[in-house]
């Protein structure tokens, strides 16, 4: 039980209390000022209680927004129930969302186990398959055992018919064995029903049939627990409603009772899962061993959750029956709903059974076409049998089924033997745990020793790097940098190369650092060729260049890398203009390319990158050449061209979408551009030589791409401008001209202009995010920002428009008023009011308008109706038995309402009683008759007085009870939070221990925040 569940019930009850208090207030508010004052005090106290409850929830480690979400969710549940939906439907609809919210808060279905069952979480983390099982069990809520049993009973005839339809002989049938629905069939059918909704197909694919029994048992526990949880919610709700008239201390008892029911249900769920997992582990280990898969830990202890102390026990003895009845009804409804689900999945289950029987018949050779009486089924079985993989799986499942069944039988026998022999299995398991733990520690020690040795080696490298750095000189610096890189400390390399490596390291999520550490184990492999380091570099973006630079081709060595670094300065001079053109990234690229050029000095090489229009925009469609460094340079130059084109298109408001065909590359030391896009670098083949003027080459390539029509969405005039003459001058002209056009559009179509500009801005941001390798969450935030800015732009445009037309509209409204068309004037005024309001507030304002209209109608017609009603009464006020009957009926009706605390009736009681007595005086046959009427009036007045007093006393009693509850709940919340913290601590410790066991041979994390006490026993 967690405090969050209490919070749910508390919040539900608060909502109910506030609603009823509002009714009380309405009922008695008009009667006396004293009652109103008391009710007001009640509401104030409720508010304080709500704050205390929220604090209790926060104290229970649930974030405020999670509680808020839960409150909304619970509100949905309450609204659903109040609107007459079937409770089970509401629970099934809202339960999943509640689970999601609890999951966000870290206390979801899996998280709940984490919070409460420290043992479960360890196994669940180590075996996500089991977590999937538990989730499926709790989510689906089907009762596997019951379903199996019921299907075998209710569908026996259908099963037999199916067996007969296979056309088997009696002997064949006997050979096939009993045709019935096994748990496996049920499982497969159930899975077909729920797998899509739960999205656990992938997880399930790794489950073997030996998991079926565990799932079976877990489902049984899940069904009962699920029903219990539901009944605790629904039962509490109904129970409170049932006992509401006599609520007082009973309220406290009911709330705590409901909370304890929930605790009980959760405890049952956890222990059911623990039991199933224990059984699963025991029977699965031999199978896993046979399949050469690692074994699992075993022996989880049951969880015992404390119940809430209930000082109000017995306070609602009479109402207790009603409450228990409500709980029982809800429980039955939940069980019935789950059975209904089982019924719905029955067809799926039956189909699974058919498939299995068919398959088994095929495996046994019983469906040989030659001997077939049911050709269709046998053909299907034959096809299934022809699939070797499927056959293997079927054999495996079958064997596993059989082994599992035998093991379970053995396990059951063993339990009985234990019981007869007086053996304590828990003690044996504890001993087994101790042995297992010792063995694990022994095995793990090897991994620890290995990790420590690696750490020592890493330190030695770091120390060596430091010494080399102190030696000085380019060679020393290079060696020092490399060694630092090997230790994962790229920043220590220094210079732009170091910065680049560090940048790439960060962008690759630390992969470089990890790899560097890994390579410390095998230096020979590192220096030997293009290993994982290269791949990581490639993943980092500019990895191709860096990889080539550092490692070169196969067989390169440290010398080539050092040479690349030495050429850095030359490269900076050569590509200074490129660096300026491309901004900060260009600086980095400049340094990188510098390195490339440095490496390129060693031999004459050529390369060319051709730019084309791909599906996602501009791209390097081909990269040719015989030199890695030239290829890199060409690729970078092409990238510069593409970036420039993108920037130009953005500035001019166009898009990159037209045809492009241009190549830019290097031949020896010269930059070459092939306007045909043929990738030529020879001038004899049409390439244009720009010498070492990379900027000129890039400019030319840009102009050529523009001339090809790369930028679309521009006006013809802008297109003409940028396709003529010097690209820089023409661009300047185009920008000025486009600026004028933009200004005109901004004035004439401000909203469209703003939205277009926003779209471009967001597109650029999206590209930047893509480059930065932004996460999905960051991309979602970016999209949300776009939507918000779009709303702002629309709102601004609307406000501007309103301010323009507002003055004229005001004059029109005034004219309408002067013309006496008040209705039209009011409508126009409201229209303006709504238009000037934020869209989200308009529905509320419209509701206010409607209420104002309704109030006006009431104010107008209410007095008229009252007057007519009084006149009607006058018409019937004459003497006579008929009128006396009417007066008496009216009086008794009013008296009955007054006795129930109806404020209106209480106010009318005196008047109607007077009329009644007057009529009685007129019509009584004797004084006794009149005195009888008088006695009736006296009794009614007495009841009315009591009812009015009772309303006030009732409200005060509620306040007192709630205050007592609040104090108790606060203390319970504190206590619960403390217990949960301890459970968390134990769970985390167990998880770390189990994690280490499962990662046998890997390093052991011993961070200071979560120390692992390896000698401590499992709780």
């Amino acid at each position: 039980m967690k405090a969050g569940t209490l919070e749910i019930e508390i919040l539900t009850n608060i909502a109910r209390l506030q609603q009823d208090m509002a009714q009380v207030k309405r009922a008695v508010g008009d009667t006396t000022a004293e009652v109103s004052r008391k009710v007001g005090a009640a509401n104030d106290n409720l508010g304080r209680f709500g704050q205390q409850a929220t604090r209790a929830g926060q104290g229970a480690r649930l974030a405020g927004h999670h509680m808020q979400n839960l409150a909304f969710q619970v509100n949905d549940v309450v609204v659903g129930l109040a609107s007459g939906q079937h409770p089970m439907t509401v629970f099934m609809q809202q339960g999943a969302q509640i689970g999601q919210i609890m999951g966000q808060a870290g206390v979801g279905v899996g998280g709940m186990a984490k919070q409460l069952g420290g043992m479960v979480v360890g196994v669940a983390r180590a075996h996500p398959v089991l977590a999937g099982l538990a989730t499926a069990a709790a989510g689906a809520g089907g009762a596997m055992v019951l379903v199996t049993r019921e299907l075998n009973q209710t569908r026996a005839a259908e099963i037999d018919a199916f067996a007969q339809s296979l056309g088997l002989t009696k002997a064949e049938l006997e050979k096939l064995g009993e045709v019935g629905i096994t748990t496996g069939d049920v499982f497969r059918g159930l899975w077909a029903y729920i797998s899509e909704g739960l999205g656990l197909d992938r997880v399930f694919s790794s489950i073997r049939n030996w998991a079926v029994s565990a799932f079976d048992a877990t489902l049984s526990a899940g069904k009962i627990a699920g029903a219990g949880i539901y009944a605790a919610f629904r039962g509490t709700y109904d129970g409170l409603r049932a006992i509401w008239p006599s609520v007082g201390n009973i309220l406290a008892e009911a709330v705590i009772n409901g909370a304890n029911r929930a605790i009980e249900a959760v405890e049952g769920l956890i222990n059911g899962a623990i039991k199933a997992i224990n059984a699963l582990v025991m029977v699965a280990n031999p199978l896993l061993a046979a399949a050469r898969m690692g074994g699992m830990n075993v022996g989880l202890g049951a969880v015992s959750l404390g119940r809430l102390s209930n000082p109000y026990a017995g306070a609602g003895a009479a109402a207790g029956d009603a409450f228990s009845g409500a709980y029982a009804n809800a429980f039955r409804a939940a069980m019935a709903g789950m059975d209904r689900i089982a019924g719905e999945i029955g067809d799926s289950i039956f189909k699974a059974m058919k498939d299995r029987v068919t398959r088994e018949a095929g495996e046994k050779g019983l469906l040989d076409p030659a001997a077939s009486k049911g050709a269709g089924s046998r053909k299907a079985a034959g096809r299934a049998g022809s699939d070797a993989g499927e056959e293997w799986a079927a054999q495996f499942l079958k064997q596993a089924d059989k082994a599992l069944a035998e093991l379970f039988i053995a396990f059951g026998t063993l339990e009985k033997m234990w019981a007869r022999a007086g053996i304590d299995p828990e003690a044996d398991i504890a001993a087994m745990q101790a042995d297992f733990r010792a063995a694990q520690e022994k095995r793990t020690q090897g991994a620890i020793d290995e990790a420590e040795a690696a750490a020592r080696l890493r330190d030695e490298y770091a120390e060596l790097a430091s010494i080399l750095g102190a030696i000085g000189g380019s060679g020393g610096a290079a060696l020092s940098g490399v060694l630092n890189g090997l230790s994962g400390n790229y920043a220590a390399i220094g210079g732009r190369a170091g910065a680049t490596l560090e940048l790439l390291n960060r962008s690759s999520g630390g992969a470089l650092r990890d790899l560097g550490m890994t390579f410390t184990k095998s230096l020979d492999k590192f220096f030997g060729g293009e290993g994982e380091f290269t791949k990581a570099m490639q993943a980092g973006g500019a990895g191709v260049a860096i990889g080539g630079m550092v490692l070169g081709s196969k067989g390169s060595n440290l010398g080539s890398f050092a040479g690349g670094l030495l050429g850095e300065e030359a490269g900076k001079k050569l590509f200074k203009s490129l660096g300026d053109f491309a901004g900060p990234v260009g600086t980095i690229l400049g340094s990188v390319l510098g390195g490339l050029i440095g490496g390129a000095f060693k031999k004459t090489k050529k390369a060319s990158a051709t730019i084309g229009m791909g599906a996602d925009g501009l791209e390097v469609s081909s990269l040719t050449g015989n030199s890695g460094s030239r290829k890199a340079a060409s690729s970078q130059a092409a990238g510069g061209v593409m970036d420039a084109l993108a920037a130009i298109a953005s500035q001019l408001g166009g898009e990159l979408g037209g045809p492009v065909s241009v190549s830019i590359g290097m031949r020896k030391k010269s930059y070459r551009v092939d306007p045909t896009g043929g990738g030529n670098t020879k001038t004899s083949r049409g390439a244009i030589d720009f010498g070492q003027d990379a900027e000129a080459a890039i400019k030319y390539a840009i102009a050529d791409a523009i001339a090809d029509g790369a930028i679309t969405g521009l006006s013809a005039s802008i297109q003409r401008l940028i396709q003529q003459g010097d690209i820089e001058r023409q661009l300047e002209k185009a920008l000025r001209f486009q600026g004028a056009l933009d200004e005109f559009r901004e004035r004439t179509d401000p909203l469209g202009f703003a939205l277009d500009r926003l779209a471009r801005e967001m597109e650029q941001l999206a590209k930047i995010a893509q480059e930065a390798g932004a996460s999905e969450a960051e991309l979602a935030q970016l999209r949300e920002l776009g939507v918000l800015k779009q709303k702002d732009a629309i709102e601004q445009a609307r406000q501007d428009l309103l301010s323009e037309i507002g003055n004229r509209r005001a004059l029109e409204i005034r004219i309408l008023e002067l013309l006496g068309r008040d209705g039209d004037a009011l409508a126009a005024s409201r229209e303006m009011e709504l238009a000037a309001m934020e869209a989200s507030l308009r529905p509320l304002q419209q509701m206010i308008h409607q209420l104002e209209d309704a109030r006006k109608v009431i104010d107008t017609f209410g007095p008229l109706a009252d007057d007519l009603r009084a006149y009607r009464a006058e018409l019937f006020s004459g003497a006579g038995a008929a009128s006396f009957g009417q007066v008496a009926s009216q009086f008794r009706s009013t008296a009955a309402l007054a006795a129930q605390g109806d404020a209106g009736a209480l106010g009318q009681l005196r008047g109607t009683a007077g009329s009644f007595l007057s009529a009685a005086m007129e019509n009584a046959g004797s004084d006794l008759d009149y005195r009888r009427a008088l006695g009736e009036v006296l009794a009614s007045v007495d009841r009315g007085i009591f009812a009015a007093d009772a309303q006030a006393d009732y409200a005060q009693a509620q306040i007192d009870a709630i205050e007592r509850n609040a104090a108790i709940m606060t203390s319970i919340g504190d206590e619960l939070a403390d217990k949960l913290a301890k459970i968390d601590e134990a769970a985390a410790k167990s998880a770390r221990l189990l994690e280490r066991f499962e990662r046998d041979g890997l390093t052991v994390k011993t961070d200071a925040d979560t120390p692992l006490n390896i000698v401590e026993t499992l709780p």
Partner: protein
């Protein structure tokens, strides 16, 4: 003209009465019990009114397994009684209880009426005296009823020479007077068949036999402190008495013409503009205007006497022979008319109780 001053009957002076007052001391009839002659049993009133019981008296000895509801030869229904109020009982609306303290009946006005004092009008409605005591209240309309007979004995403190029985149903009445010193001083039985209006043989034979609704005896010897016993018999049903007045009479004078007697009807009769009547029948009271010749010398005594009985109900007997001139009530006004030295009249305006 005489008046009979009413002797107050209280618990102390009511020596005996054969009219049951409540269920106290009585048991429900059992079919396994053999009842003796005169034994009283209870049966729940089949009408269900007010949680009441009917009291039956065994008419024969050896009365075994004869259901009183259906055995008139064995049981005589006497009257309806109610349980004494009990604080521990929760009464429903309409339930009737009896108060031994004031001999009155109370009807529950509300349901869930538990431990609410009978003095709380919002819970209990006083519906009048118990059956035994109705003949002693100040209403001529409310009657004491009892199967076959009503027999009461009243101890008079002082003197009493008159017994008046008003609004009665019975065939004969026996009046007895006895003192401790003198023994029986008066014992007469009177047939209540009325001969009023029977003035010829035809009427004697063919008119329905009528009984007297009022009866008066004024000649009981004035022995001190007599115990007066009145027994009204009605063999064919329940004997009923509206008012029993025992007291000493005082002769005022001789009633002379003109005199007026009649009734005042309290019924409500309203007619609308179309001649449709709305009629609510209610009680009536006798009215009379008498002119009584008195001796001038008694003026002071009579004046003082009448003043002392202002707003006090007494029996006014205009003419002994005419029951219609008997009024149980009080005077509205009286005047002495000293017409001449030899003629003095007492002018009385009387109004009776309902």
């Amino acid at each position: 003209m005489r008046l009979i001053r009413r002797e107050e009957v209280t618990d102390a002076t009511l020596v005996s009465s054969n009219v049951p007052e409540s269920t106290a001391g009585l048991s429900n009839w059992l079919d396994v019990t053999t009842y003796a002659l005169g034994d009283l049993v209870l049966r729940i009133d089949p009408s269900g009114f007010g949680r009441g019981y009917l009291v039956y008296r065994s008419l024969q000895a050896g009365n075994l397994n004869h259901n009183p509801d259906s055995s008139p030869d064995w049981w005589l229904e006497l009257s309806r009684v109610y349980e004494p109020w009990n604080a521990a009982v929760t009464y429903s609306a309409g339930d009737v209880v009896m108060s031994p303290a004031d001999h009155r009946l109370y009807e529950s006005v509300q349901g869930a009426n538990a431990n609410k004092a009978l003095s709380l009008p919002e819970w209990w409605l006083d519906i009048g005296p118990t059956n035994r005591w109705r003949m002693f209240d100040q209403s001529n309309t409310s009657q004491t009823g009892n199967g076959a007979s009503i027999a009461v004995a009243v101890q008079v403190s002082g003197r009493a020479d008159s017994v008046a029985l008003l609004n009665i149903v019975g065939s004969e009445v026996r009046i007895e007077a006895e003192t401790a010193l003198d023994g029986v001083i008066f014992d007469e039985t009177f047939n209540l068949v009325s001969d009023s209006g029977i003035t010829n043989w035809y009427e004697y034979f063919f008119e329905d036999v009528a009984r007297r609704g009022d009866f008066l005896v004024t000649n009981i010897p004035l022995n001190a402190d007599p115990e007066i016993r009145v027994t009204l018999n009605e063999p064919s049903g329940a004997a009923q008495i509206g008012t029993l007045v025992i007291g000493q009479s005082r002769d005022l004078g001789i009633t002379v013409h003109p005199a007026r007697i009649g009734i005042q009807d309290f019924s409500r009769k309203v007619v609308d503009d179309f001649g449709n009547f709305t009629i609510v029948q209610r009680n009536y009271a006798k009215r009379a205007d008498f002119r009584v010749v008195v001796e001038e010398g008694k003026i002071d005594a009579l004046s003082a006497l009448l003043a002392s009985y202002r707003a006090t109900p007494v029996i006014w007997v205009g003419v002994d022979q005419y029951a219609s001139s008997w009024i149980y009530g009080f005077y509205r006004d009286f005047q002495f008319d000293l017409a001449n030295p030899k003629e003095t009249y007492l002018m009385l305006e009387l109004e009776g109780l309902t």
